[in-house]
Amino acid sequence: MLDKKTLQRLAELSRIKIDGRKEEKFLGDFGKIIGYFEELKKVDTENVEPMSGGAELMNVSRKDDLDDELIGRGKAGFPEEQKGFLRIPGVFE
């Protein structure tokens, strides 16, 4: 169900390089894990709503204020900044 081609496609989508020598091991492990997933097919989930979070609470919102402290914390994770903008390598070559 998960062949070499699909694995390579998934790796591409995930932006991960898989060492050619490790492909076989990955495929073997995935085979076992996904095989285990098949257990879920035995469960009747007709009319069951998917559970999409850890707690089902009311929506929480706060005012959309500028939080300079938070922005500062976020920016600190970036290596380069120029004139108040975050600098990253070019997207187009």
Partner: protein, 491 residues
């Protein structure tokens, strides 16, 4: 004379008030002990001596001036290295973050500091908290202090080992599928996974956001309670966090009216053929749990066998939902933020090269496996068959808990892990057998209920039992835990 590394949080407070030692002396003692002992155990990844001594001195001055002591004043505490501390390296056990410096304190860290805690350093973990043995760290494994040929459990293995060996008085860990409770059980200490949302996750490196919770690892239930009370509560930076009106409690006179359910699926886990032996209850574990139940019966507590019929689907359900969230959460480690892998052949790197180089070299095998697995279950054509199906099964698992608690059962008791701590290397090459280690802890994360692991025996290799409670009833779990410790002490 008690050795200082055996002190509990309560002892530290008493010792400071009685001037038996200063906070500075205590911090110094712990760093000396770590320098001597941690070469063998490998619990810590980094130490923050300067900060710790500064904080300790502040407390000593405050105390000398006649000030009141905050609840955690002077208490040497360790943090799992996926919790951010401003200005210090936070690796999450991954090579990709080897040099990453946090730009702020996690909300729980901020709370600890305000309450006087002396943070000693950051502890080892499986990469991004993915694993059950702490062997999966890019910086080498941690050993179980009770038997150094064995794993301390994981992923908070460094925190559990540190507390078990007296390298810290208490610690924080994080629990996504058992990562606080399982290592606590393996190392013979107490570990609490709170109800989802009771502790802010802001500043915890996210693994699976709908499952992660931060919680205490401590030597006693009382210490776990003190630490939990110190970190809980609503935080504006985590919209899933909340306050509750009043903490639940359990008084001695409540014990005779208490009903504890023994879920039969946890004592005889149903596992498909070829991997069955890795998830079955070992006889020694079973015996220790039976003795725990017998000890609790002396408190006139009622026990009742109960059933949570969807338990056997929890593990496959978890291994769909968790990797799906991992694949999205770990997308942020792209080489643009948080450190970059430089090309070794001197070529100029475009954005694409940076992504592939950084992620290819920076992530370990388990992280890659989970990212790819998550990408798979979320991809078009498989989403309904796997991810959506798992979300539905998750609801049924939660419903099992609702039903059992509605039937007059106050809490559940079960082993924390099906096995004793296993040997280093024993499961490292086989992911599924490693996943089996969490078979009894995962359901609580999927349902969001609180659960605590408490040592079931003192002699031999550690065995933990867990109490699983109703949503927001940490107070009752901790309450019963404290009564158990008293009974256990006299046995």
């Amino acid at each position: 004379m008690t050795r200082l590394q055996d002190l509990t949080i309560t002892d530290v407070r008493k010792g400071l008030l009685e001037r038996k030692f200063s906070a500075f002396e205590l911090a110094k003692y712990f760093f000396d002990y770590i320098a001597k002992r941690d070469k063998e155990i490998g619990a810590y990844l980094s130490l923050s001596k300067d900060e710790a001594f500064q904080q300790a001195s502040k407390i000593d001055v405050h105390l000398a001036e006649g000030g009141e002591l905050e609840p955690l004043a002077g208490v040497p505490i360790a943090l799992k290295d996926n919790l951010l501390t401003e200005g210090e390296i936070c690796t999450a056990g991954s090579k990709i973050l080897e040099n990453h410096i946090s730009s702020y304190d996690a909300s729980v860290v901020e709370k600890l500091r305000k309450q006087g805690a002396v943070i000693l350093g950051k502890t080892n973990l499986d990469e991004f908290a993915m694993g059950s043995s702490t062997e999966n760290s890019a910086f080498g494994p941690t050993k179980n202090p009770r038997d150094q040929e064995r794993v301390p459990g994981g992923s908070s293995g460094g925190s559990a080992a540190a507390v078990a060996d007296g390298l810290a008085v208490a610690a924080l860990g994080s629990d996504t599928g058992g990562s606080i409770r399982q290592p606590a059980g393996f190392c013979g200490v107490v570990g609490l996974k709170p109800t989802y949302g009771r502790v802010s996750r802001f500043g915890l490196m996210a693994m699976a956001s709908s499952l992660d919770q931060i919680g205490p690892i401590a030597k006693t239930v009382e210490d776990a309670e003190i630490l939990f009370n110190a970190i809980k509560g609503k935080d504006k930076y985590d919209s899933t966090s909340f306050d509750i009106e009043r903490e639940s409690e359990l008084k001695f006179e409540d014990l005779s009216g208490l009903t504890i359910g023994l879920p039969k699926e946890y004592f005889n886990p149903e596992i498909p053929g070829e991997i069955r032996d890795k998830g079955e209850l070992e006889p020694e574990v079973k015996k220790a749990i039976e003795e725990t139940v017998a000890a609790l019966k002396t408190l006139k507590i009622n026990f009742k066998e109960v059933s949570l019929p969807h338990t056997k689907y929890a593990l496959p359900c978890y291994y769909i939902i968790m990797p799906a969230e991992v694949s999205t959460n770990l997308a942020r480690f792209d080489g643009i933020r948080y450190g970059r892998e430089k090309a070794t052949d001197g070529r100029r790197q475009g954005l694409r090269d940076i992504y592939f180089d950084t992620r290819g070299k920076g992530f370990g095998e388990e992280a890659k496996r989970r990212i790819i697995l998550g990408t798979f279950v979320l991809s078009s054509g498989y989403y309904d068959a796997y991810y959506k199906k798992a979300q539905k099964v998750r609801r049924l698992i939660k419903k099992d808990f609702e039903n059992v608690f509605a039937s007059g059962v106050d809490m559940l008791l079960a082993p924390t892990s099906p096995t004793l701590p296993f040997k280093l290397g024993e499961r490292a090459d086989d992911p599924i057998s490693m996943y089996m280690a969490d078979i009894l802890t995962i359901p609580a994360n999927l349902a969001g209920v609180p659960a605590i692991s408490i040592p079931a025996r003192k002699a031999g290799l550690p065995v933990g039992f867990q109490l699983i409670g109703k949503w927001n009833e940490e107070g009752r779990l901790l309450g019963l835990g404290k009564f158990y410790e008293r009974v256990h002490e006299t046995l």
